[in-house]
Structures are given as structure tokens and as C-alpha cells.
């Protein structure tokens, strides 16, 4: 019997790939967002609205991650943004390897924004760094205000927390204060936004924040 002490990071390979992506995005001054949330939390809608606001000032590309179909990438295409669809075929998260393969096939401009819409899921995507600068996590009001408490690992890495479907809040018992407090208990400096699909102001607030982050990145 032989025993070997290894002390190896099980995600070592994924982390190396993620580092390569960070280097690539830094070299090309691309601001990258990893957008996560449950299926139906409004990720694609938020991306559409942000593109509408920013497209005259910044070039935006999108990677759409789904188990199947090109439904979301077809929606994004209509905004005029460059979009690439990844179908994971059953895998519950995007991996840095999938993103590497996608950017090889895309023609992402220097000094631009790349929005990566992860597979709808509040658990698995949290474990994989995709080379992003910003992690955005969405919870819609019908899902309930207890999501941050129930899925803390996801919120541990969140830079921005967006409460979506604010227009439906009256029909739910979603307590904004409770949701925000739970998120701040997990990570006190998370940026917080609220969002309704029909609110020009909401889309503007998020877009303005992103534009500032973009300006910092391209300096």
C-alpha cells in the first residue's frame, strides 16, 4: 500500500482556465458580467433592456447559456448585439472551458462589454469563475424573499443583487427589506437594484452603474 499526499485543488484546471480568461479580458479591456438567477427570473429581459440603453455608447456582446434551444439568443439578436448560444445539453452551469470555446468563435471587440447569461440555477453556477469582473444575481418577486437565505453560496460571490419583476410585487408577499437584509448579512457591500421590465428608470439606473464600471475597466 502506498499513500500519496496530494493537496491539489479539485477545481485547479477550471481555475487555470478562468485565469486565462481574466488575462484575455484584461488585455482586451472587456468588462465581463456573469448573470445568474433561477429559470424565469428575468435574466434575458434585463440583458435586453440594458443593451437598449447602452448600445449607442458601448459595443455589447452576449453569451447565452441554456440546456437546450436558441430561444434566448434569438431574443438578444433582435437588439442588434452580437450573441453566441451555448447549449450545455444537460449540464447545469457554464464552465470556463465552454466560455473559452465561445470566445474563440466570437469576434468580441476590444473595449466592450460581454454579458454572459448563465444557465438558470441558483446553486451550480456559483462554483465556476468564468473570468468575469462582475457577478450579477437576480431574484424575481414571485420566487420569494427567502432565496438569499436558502442559497447563500450564490450570494456570497454576488457583486450586484437585482430584485426583478417589481411590477408583480403586489401579487406576492415579497418583502424587499427582508431580501436586502439577508443579502447584506452574507456580503455587506453588494450593490442592490430593483427592476421592472417596463420601467425606463430601472433600466437606466443599472445601465448607468454598468457604464461607470466599463469606464473604469477601459482606462
Amino acid at each position: 500500500m502506498a499513500r500519496y499526499e496530494l493537496m491539489r485543488d479539485a477545481l485547479g484546471r477550471e481555475k487555470q482556465r478562468a485565469e486565462r480568461l481574466h488575462d484575455f479580458f484584461a488585455e482586451h479591456r472587456i468588462l465581463v458580467l456573469n448573470i445568474m438567477g433561477s429559470p424565469g427570473s428575468g435574466k434575458t429581459t434585463l440583458i435586453e433592456k440594458v443593451i437598449e440603453k447602452l448600445k449607442d455608447d458601448v459595443t455589447i456582446s452576449v453569451i447565452e447559456g441554456d440546456l437546450a434551444t436558441t430561444v434566448d439568443s434569438e431574443r438578444i439578436e433582435k437588439t442588434g448585439a452580437d450573441v453566441f448560444q451555448i447549449n450545455t445539453g444537460g449540464i447545469c452551469h457554464l464552465s470556463p472551458e465552454m466560455v473559452e470555446r465561445a470566445i474563440d468563435k466570437m469576434n468580441i471587440r476590444d473595449k466592450s462589454i460581454l454579458m454572459i447569461e448563465n444557465v438558470g440555477n441558483l446553486v451550480c453556477p456559483a462554483s465556476f469563475d468564468l473570468g468575469e469582473d462582475i457577478r450579477m444575481v437576480l431574484v424575481s418577486t414571485p420566487e420569494g424573499d427567502d432565496k438569499p437565505e436558502k442559497y447563500p453560496v450564490m450570494f456570497l460571490g454576488a457583486d450586484i443583487f437585482v430584485i426583478t419583476k417589481m411590477d408583480l410585487i403586489e401579487m406576492t408577499d415579497f418583502n424587499i427589506e427582508r431580501a436586502i437584509k439577508s443579502v447584506q448579512k452574507i456580503k455587506h457591500n453588494t450593490e442592490i437594484f430593483t427592476f421592472s421590465r417596463d420601467s425606463n428608470e430601472d433600466a437606466k439606473r443599472i445601465s448607468t452603474w454598468l457604464k461607470e464600471e466599463y469606464t473604469k475597466k477601459i482606462k
Binding site: Y4, E5, M7, D9, A10, H93, V153, L156, S182
Partner: protein
Amino acid sequence: MHEYSIAIGIIDTLKDVLKEEFLCLNKIELTVGSLSGVYFEALHSALELILESEGLDNVTINISEEKGLFICSECQKATEIEPPLFICKECGSSRGKISGGKKIIIKAVEVNDGKI
């Protein structure tokens, strides 16, 4: 079930490190962080499934937990984090740093002699 992807990564790493000795694998020891987002049972089952597909039916898989610590900025104490509360257990402050508990480490392996 991202544990399956992680399990594939672990097995690939072991094949790389052990080369032909991989077929004599007897025991895997892992340390999984309490904040890594990995469910022990799911990781265990995924590893078993992959090992079986490699013809390795009798590998012992030991998974131990590494607790994440909250290093408090107010009272400077380090206390164990119990999600969903990411606060200092000593003074209740939410200002501080998280230390450890996020990684999944392949700690050690054991291989049988002369099975090849």
C-alpha cells in the same frame, strides 16, 4: 448537480498524477469547504459512478469538511460561519472577512501494491 463536473475533474487529476497506478486506487481523501456549494452526498455518488465506469468498484471515498471562518473587523475574533448567517458569532457584526471553507481539496490517495 455540478458535483458531477467536479468529480470528473478529480478523476482526471488523479489519472494525471497516478498514471498506471490509477488502476490500483484504493482510497481517496477529500476536504470540502462548507462554503464551496458542494453537497457531499452528491459528490460521493458522482465519484462512485465514475470510478465504477473505470472498473474500480472498491475505492473508499472519505470526505471531510473544512469550515469557513468569519474574521471579524470589529472584535478581530475568528468564528465558524453557519450559513445563512455570515456574521461574527462573538459580537454579531457583519463586517469582516471570510477565510477558508471555499475550496475542494484532493488531500491524499492510497493505492494497492502490485495489482497491475
